[in-house]
Subunit: 135 residues, 4 copies
């Protein structure tokens, strides 16, 4: 089971609404449970350097089924897994990537958001993920 | 001047409608005039191997402002530019990538479609590009 | 809107004059707003290892519309975005890359300078950017 | 002995004049005898996909001290060196790259031109190389 086109549309739409409310144009990437690109939107004016970061956050979150900053906890100095962020061709380990799960907890994919301050990215990713649940 | 979010939405929507009419799920990628990802949709059931092809077709078309198969003419045996398809980190030189232009001819970006037979990919790309013009 | 050939010429000329005044030969790279190479000059005697650094500084600055050392603030230990410098295929996050903006603030591209001490690189990049504004 | 900044300036200036006469905006790359980037200019409107090709032609020509199409002769079907174009990380083996030599024949570097039809690229590269000799 993986995310559907309709669910991905809902994730992007909810993320875009949240970014418009914040007034910060974002890059929003949706990957499926197999860690393949499902949907993407770059809002007008969003930073070009954030495309790769949005994709990387979604990839990191889909690979491990966790929020990206949780991976950062494992890999930080003194953490259990130094260098973890260098595996898988490089992970993005700050906030803005979240797993997308079915009501029963099954991992369906992940969303990654980049374009603002890290706290803003997380806020938009949270709204985007909630948009899928509500769809 | 480059493609807007609203124009990219129109390209994806028109491409998805055309693919549904054909009954073939497609990957559709939209890049801007600077050859950066603007929008992407993978329809349910579209081949995973076609994600990279759709992106590559859009990239090839945006880099040269031409249909992908026109690049193929230059690089084919006996063409003027043998090995052209190996430049720029590798190009995709069969049909399914089309430039997106403003009414005055300015290059705004490109669309790349992959998932069906090449003729079907081109048909969907043509519909997607027309969708922008009509938006 | 992106940097013109005439503006890029002015950036290189001003940068070269500043480097000559310092007596330090520099590599100077100019990228456009789409993060593509627009102009480049390696002064006689400039370090070969600095070619890639000048290009990387310009790329980093164009991707985020910021001075390179500002990106370094985000990615340093204790910053908001650990590992940011590993995204986008690797960023250069010390001084010497500056965004180039139109009078109205529009991002036109970026300049990257390398060849001397970091403070010298920044001094030449600042002069180069000012040369465009004065042109 | 390698190309100087002054000689590279002369190559770019002569190439740009020839391209303006043709009315075709070009990418022009100059590499030194050590196959490192010395100078580059992208004229306004030149194709983005031709940046990599201009650099590749200059690289190919500097690596072997020959015109790019001469390398193509060795690597073409029936030639002495099939697959030669795959060495060195990939060569560009159609016309538009020329060696730059001192009056005594010493290799100083190479110029690569891309942006028009292959015959136009060669015409501009020839003018660019002649510009150095006349400087």
């Amino acid at each position: 089971m993986s995310i559907t086109q309709e669910q991905a549309d809902a994730v992007l739409a909810a993320g875009r609404r949240a970014a418009e409310t914040l007034g910060v144009p974002m890059n929003i990437a949706v990957l499926d449970a197999g860690v393949h690109l499902k949907a993407f939107a770059r809002m007008d004016g969003a930073l070009l350097g954030s495309i790769d970061i949005a994709l990387g956050k979604a990839r990191t979150s889909a690979l491990f089924g966790m929020a990206t900053e949780a991976i950062g906890e494992f890999s930080k100095p003194g953490g259990t897994s130094p260098g973890l962020e260098q595996t898988n061709g490089g992970l993005v380990v700050f906030a803005g990537g979240l797993p997308l799960r079915a009501a029963d907890g099954t991992l369906l994919g992940a969303v990654g958001v980049s374009g603002g301050a890290v706290a803003q990215d997380l806020q938009v990713a949270t709204a985007a993920a909630a948009g899928m649940a509500a769809s």
